[in-house]
């Protein structure tokens, strides 16, 4: 499948329709805005990755010998803030969602193209503030910026908070645009039950972005008010309640994990259906499990606070609710696996990432249940077990999904084919590097190594596992660099991509690669069900291209 080549003559598309910096910076084309986001988040990914590298190098030896303790605090703070707010949250929605959702539903653009551009500018303003924060010394509060420390630290917390505040509005606007677009802009015949699961996942993500993000914005403002005006909100000395901060923070930040993982689940549904050549098993269950995750995700936040001093009764309720959110996640995993059953499986690079996703997300999800259990949580809270768990979800899950999606839709985005052999190799390197980095951290945490420690010379027995983790991070770094190299290489030297190189279902494959500015030359009408691979692969049916 991956060797399909076609002679494609140069057609007018969104990339060559106009040239010049102005045509990009003032564009309202969702595809160009997606590329602006792609470049921006890649920049922040490598900054966040650089911080990770320094963290892992420091932990190579038990003694704190590479950086000072204060610097180490800043390293893990800026790593977390950059990766969460400036890479993971916008990654799939703002790049792949922006690029694909209008095409997948048969629309010319998003409902509010100018708001879409505004969202990118807000992201850039937030990003510039974050860069200013980093260049002037950085913050040391941890990405969770808990009070009372964040209310008194002398480092650049205000700048970091402001950066996250502004970037949050970018996220809200993207979510708003997706909700309105999915409701209002679907092509004739594109009913809710025919929507690709990628769109369902983004719809659920958008609900979280709309309902959750304002809460973190308000929380940041409250911390700022306490710092500057000395209002008693979180500080007990002033009559405040420090746990109120954690409630507000996690009300957004736990669902924020689903902002990262749900879009990746959408990608995986598309990839698995295509490379197993089957309709997704239990389409409706997978679709509604996205909505269930979005709703249940708002009911579990206090499992981050079990040892913080919250009421035991409340902790019991949140523990039970946390188990409940595992159900819709398991529905997805079981349905993907059932889709593979008797499928005609192709082991192309996007599918390797999808397999990686399923395995790593399952490990991350199951260890989440460990943390939902009150007794175990007390033992492993604030240890490397937690670090390993959320990296399995946010890196093993979300980043694998992002990379799988980038490979799957790269021919559509760029009009070029990437080198399949290198892509498979990169997928394997990422999988091996990831596990070598983070699996030892489960053991370290269970044995009692606390997170955020710069020096562990009083427990030198942990060095072996830390060395393994650092070695894995190096391999993982190579695995992440490789796709960037061959994607860039393919822009110049790659074979031209046919409109539908994977013979995939979905409206986005029925237009040119790269697509024209308004996506389709004529308005598409949908007369088929989602993932109609049985019809596509039936030899007697010749599909007519839509809009060409």
């Amino acid at each position: 499948m991956s060797t399909v080549k076609a002679q494609v003559t140069e057609r007018t598309n969104y990339l060559n329709a106009d040239y010049g910096v102005r045509s990009w910076l003032l564009t309202t084309d969702h595809k160009r805005i997606a590329l602006l986001y792609l470049i921006s988040i890649t920049f922040f990914f490598f900054i966040g990755g650089f911080y990770a590298l320094l963290i892992r190098l420091e932990l190579l030896t038990p003694a704190g010998d590479l950086v000072q303790a204060d610097t180490y605090n800043k390293l893990f703070t800026m790593h977390g803030m950059v990766m969460v707010f400036f890479f993971l949250i916008p990654s799939i929605p703002a790049v792949l969602g922006n690029f694909l959702i209008p095409m997948m539903i048969g629309a010319k653009d998003l409902a509010f193209p100018r708001i879409n551009l505004l969202s990118w500018y807000l992201y850039i303003i937030g990003g510039a503030l974050m860069c200013h924060c980093m260049l002037t010394g950085g913050a040391d509060t941890g990405w969770t910026f808990y009070v009372p420390f964040s209310a008194i630290t002398n480092t650049k917390f205000v700048e970091a908070g402001l950066a996250i505040f502004v970037a949050g509005f970018s996220s809200i606007l993207t979510g708003l645009n997706f909700v309105v677009t999915v409701h209002r802009m679907r092509a004739p015949g594109m009913t809710w039950s025919r929507l690709p699961l990628f769109v369902w996942a983004h719809y659920a993500t958008s609900i979280i972005q709309l309902l959750g993000t304002p809460v973190i914005a308000i929380t940041i403002l409250l911390v700022a008010a306490e710092r500057t005006l000395h209002l008693g909100i979180f500080d007990p000395k002033l009559g405040g309640d420090p746990l109120l901060f954690q409630h507000l923070f996690w009300f957004y930040s736990h669902p924020a994990v689903y902002i990262m993982i749900l879009p990746a689940m959408g990608v995986i549904s598309e990839v698995i259906a295509c490379y197993a050549r089957k309709r997704i098993f239990g389409y409706s269950f997978v679709a509604f499990s996205s909505i269930a995750i979005a709703v249940f995700g708002f009911l579990v936040w206090a499992h981050h606070m079990f040892v913080a001093g919250i009421s035991l009764y409340s902790a019991l309720v949140f523990s039970m609710l946390s188990y409940a959110v595992a159900v819709p996640s398991a529905v997805k995993v079981f349905n993907w696996t059932a889709t593979l059953y008797k499928g005609s499986i192709h082991y192309d690079a996007p599918m390797l990432y999808a397999f990686g996703f399923i395995g790593l997300f399952t490990v991350g999800g199951l260890t989440g249940l460990f943390l939902a259990a009150l007794g175990i949580d007390v033992h492993v809270t604030d240890t490397y077990f937690v670090v390993a768990h959320f990296h399995y979800i946010m890196v093993g899950g979300a980043v694998m999904g992002y990379l799988g999606g980038m490979h799957f839709w790269w021919p559509k985005i760029s009009g070029k084919l990437y080198p399949e052999g290198w892509a498979k190799l990169a997928a394997l390197i990422v999988f091996v590097g990831f596990n070598l980095t983070f699996f030892p951290q489960f053991i370290l945490g269970y044995l009692g190594m606390p997170r955020r420690y710069w020096d562990y010379s009083h427990m030198p027995e942990f060095q072996v596992l830390n060395v393994a983790s650092t070695a894995g991070a190096t391999i993982l770094g190579i695995g992440y660099l490789l796709p960037m190299v061959y994607f860039l290489w393919s822009l110049r030297y790659g074979d031209p991509a046919p409109d539908n190189p994977w013979n995939a279902a979905g409206l986005e494959w029925k237009t040119a690669s790269p697509p024209p500015t308004f996506n389709f030359d004529s308005d598409p009408v949908v007369t088929w069900e989602a993932y109609n691979y049985d019809e596509i692969d039936a030899p007697h049916i010749q599909e007519a291209p839509v809009g060409r």
């Binding site: 409701h183 309902l211 507000l248 009911l299 009421s311 009764y313 309720v317």
Partner: protein
Amino acid sequence: MAGHATSLKTYFTIWIALLIFTGLTVFAARIDLGVYNAAVALTIASVKATLVALFFMHIRGTSERLTKLVVVSALFFLFLLLGLSMSDYLTRAWH
């Protein structure tokens, strides 16, 4: 917004009402109402937020079921935030 157009007069009336409520908040802040300080301030703020939502955000008079669903969802999630947070605050052993 055809169908539920709001007159300029209504907008000004609501604006004046919001200013009066703001004044009321400042006035109430100068009086020590003891445990009712926060309750009074939050009540005034809630009335103001309701006015903004009903008139400036055109919730009043909307016939769109989707708009109503959005309003109900937002209130439901606010209830979750407050309700579940209070489930902790009110049952703490050391409180």
